[in-house]
Symmetry: C2
Subunit: 339 residues, 2 copies
C-alpha cells in the first residue's frame, strides 16, 4: 500500500493534467494505493468535480482514494529555487515533501519547478550518509531495452567520487524499478580505452573498476541509441549532469524532428508513430531524484496526464521495492553487514 | 589553384578508398587543382593503375594532376600519437604535413590516426599567436541548415577562454566554408539563462557577450536537431571537446538505429534513405583542425571514397577562401588594423 502525494499545482498544464493523471493512475493501480492532491483545495476540488462529471465519469468510483491536502502557495516555473522554497513554506511543493518527512505520505511527484524540487527535497529529506550529491535518473529508450542515464541535470560540475556514487544509485534504480538483475554500468566517455576522457572521467574509470558495481567500462555517444557497446548491452550510463542534460534534451528533440522530415517526405504518420512508439518519453513519466532520504519524482513541466499517470506508477514501484532503503543500505555497506 | 596532399595510407580502407577519393575529387574539381598522394610509392602506384584500368577508367585523363610523394612509414590507427609522430618522421602523416610547412603543398587531408594528426599538425604548423588550443570543427546536419559544432574532440577539459576562441574559429569556418555572412554563434548549455551551466559555460557566456562574435546566447540539446533556438537559427555551436564528441557520435548513430527500426516496421528503405539523405555524414567528408597555421583536415577512419572526395573539396575551399589567413588575422585584431 502506497500513499503518493502529487503536486496538483505543478507543471504547465496544472491542475487539469495533474488531476487527470491522478485519476488515470488510480484506474490502473491496485485499490490499496491512494493519492494525495496537494495544492489549493478550492481549485483542485472544482477540477476534480469537473472531470468526474465529464471526461473521467468512468473513474468516479476511485474518488474515495483521493484526498486533498491544502497548500495555499504555488512556486512558479521561473522562480529562483532557493528563494522560492525559503519564501513559500506553504507551497504545494514544500507541503507535499513535508507530508512524507512527517510519515503521512510515502512518495512525492511534481511537474513543477525542477530546481525548487531538487533544493526542497535535499532540505526536507537530507542526503543519505556518505553521499556527496543527489542525481536525477532518467530512462532513455534505446533500440534494445530502456536504460538509465544519470545524472541528467542535478549536478553540472562532477568529480570522480560523485560519478562513482551515481553508478551505485543507478544500479539500484535499474534493479528496483526496471527489474534488472546485477545491472551493467557504463561510464559515458569519448573512447573505450581507460585513459580516454577528461580528468573526472579518467579518475572515475579507475574508481569504478574496483567499486563493486558491474562495470563494463567506457561507453560512447554512439552506443547510447542501441543500449550496447562492443562488449555487450548495458543498463546504466553514468555522466555528469551537464553532459547528461545535453544528451537527454538532444534525444528528446531528434525523434520529433525526424518524424517531421519523414512525414513531409510522404511517409505515413501513423505507421511512423507506431514504429517509434518506444521513443515516447511520456511512457516513463518521471525521473527520481536519487540520493535523498525519501522518494521525490521529477516530471517534465510539459507533462501530459499520461506522463503524470506513469510518474505516479513509478512512485508506487519505488515505494513497493523499498528503493530508498536499498540506497541507504548500499551506501553504508558496514551497517548492512552489521544488521 | 590548390595543391592538396592526401595521406594515401590513412584510414581503414586505404589505399583503395584514398586513391579512389582522389580520382573522384579531380573529376569534380577545377582543372587547376592537383592532388599529392603521400605514402608508399609502389603501393599507391599499383592501386592507381588498378583503378584507372578498372572502375575509374573514365577518370584516366586526370592522372597527370596526381603526383606521388614517397613516405615509407605508416602510423597505425592504434598507435599512441606522441610516440608515433616522434618515432615515424617518415610517415605519410608527418611527410604530408611537412610538405605544406615547406611551401610545396596548400592543405593536408587524412583519414588516419586522429590523435597523431592533431599532435603532428600542432608540432609542424604551430598554433596561431594568442590561441590556447586548436579545435576540431564538425558539420552537423539539422532540419534547417548544416551547422558547425566545435570542439568535437580535440580538447576534453576547456576553460572559458578556449570556448570563446572556439567561437571565433567556428565563425570564420562558417563564413569561409559554409558561406554564412556574420554567422550566429550559440553556446551549448543546459538552460537558456546566462546563469545556467557549469563553471566554464557560465564564464564563457559572459566573455562571449562582449567578444564581438554574433552571439545568440545559450542553446540547448533540444535546439541541435533543428539548428535553431527560441530566439532564431544559429550557424555555430560551441562546447568543450568532451560534450562535442559525445553529441557527435550519438547523432551519427541515431539515424542508422532509427532507420533499422523503421525498416523492420515495414517502411520502405529507399524512401527513408532519400528523406534522410541530409543526415549522411559522408557528404561533409572532413573536419578541419582549426587554430594551427595551416590546413589539416581530419576524416573519419571509416571514410568512403565519397567522404574522402568531399574532404578534398573542403580542403580546396579552405585554401581558396584563405581561411587560415582569416583566422590568424582575427586572432590579432591590432595587426589587422595596422596592416
Amino acid at each position: 500500500m502506497a500513499r503518493i502525494a502529487l503536486d496538483a499545482m505543478g507543471g504547465d498544464f496544472a491542475p487539469q493534467a495533474t488531476v487527470s493523471g491522478a485519476l488515470l493512475a488510480l484506474g490502473e493501480l491496485d485499490a490499496a494505493h491512494t493519492i494525495q492532491l496537494v495544492g489549493q483545495t478550492a481549485i483542485i476540488e472544482a477540477e476534480l468535480t469537473r472531470q468526474l462529471d465529464g471526461e473521467h465519469k468512468a473513474l468516479a468510483s476511485h474518488r474515495p482514494r483521493i484526498s486533498i491536502v491544502e497548500a495555499p502557495e504555488v512556486i512558479g516555473a521561473d522562480e529562483k529555487p532557493g528563494a522560492a522554497i525559503r519564501g513559500k513554506q506553504n507551497s504545494s511543493m514544500v507541503v507535499g515533501l513535508k507530508l512524507q518527512a512527517g510519515g503521512q505520505s510515502d512518495a512525492f511527484v511534481s511537474a513543477g519547478n525542477t530546481g525548487a524540487q531538487m533544493a526542497a527535497s535535499v532540505v526536507v529529506f537530507r542526503l543519505h550518509t556518505g553521499l556527496k550529491r543527489p542525481a536525477i535518473a532518467t530512462i532513455l529508450p534505446t533500440a534494445k531495452q530502456p536504460i538509465v542515464l544519470l545524472d541528467s541535470g542535478a549536478n553540472v560540475d562532477c568529480g570522480p567520487e560523485e560519478l562513482t556514487q551515481f553508478a551505485w544509485l543507478g544500479s539500484i534504480y535499474a534493479e528496483d524499478i526496471l527489474g534488472r538483475a546485477n545491472p551493467v554500468v557504463g561510464l559515458l566517455n569519448i573512447g573505450e580505452e581507460p585513459e580516454k576522457g577528461n580528468v573526472a572521467a579518467k579518475e572515475a574509470h579507475q574508481l569504478l573498476t574496483t567499486s563493486g558495481v558491474n562495470f563494463i567500462g567506457n561507453v560512447e555517444g554512439r552506443d547510447l541509441p542501441v543500449g550496447a557497446c562492443d562488449r555487450g548491452p548495458f543498463d546504466v550510463v553514468v555522466c555528469d549532469g551537464f553532459v547528461g542534460n545535453v544528451v537527454l534534451k538532444f534525444y528528446e528533440a531528434i525523434a520529433p524532428a525526424m518524424m517531421g522530415t519523414l512525414v513531409k517526405a510522404g511517409i505515413d504518420q501513423k505507421q511512423l508513430g507506431a514504429a517509434l512508439a518506444h521513443l515516447d518519453y511520456s511512457q516513463y513519466g518521471g525521473a527520481p531524484l536519487l540520493g535523498v532520504r525519501g522518494i521525490s519524482i521529477i516530471s517534465h513541466g510539459k507533462s501530459s496526464p499520461k506522463a503524470l499517470k506513469n510518474a505516479l506508477k513509478v512512485a508506487v514501484r519505488a515505494v513497493e521495492s523499498r528503493m530508498d532503503e536499498h540506497i541507504g543500505r548500499r551506501l553504508q555497506p558496514s551497517e548492512e553487514a552489521a544488521s
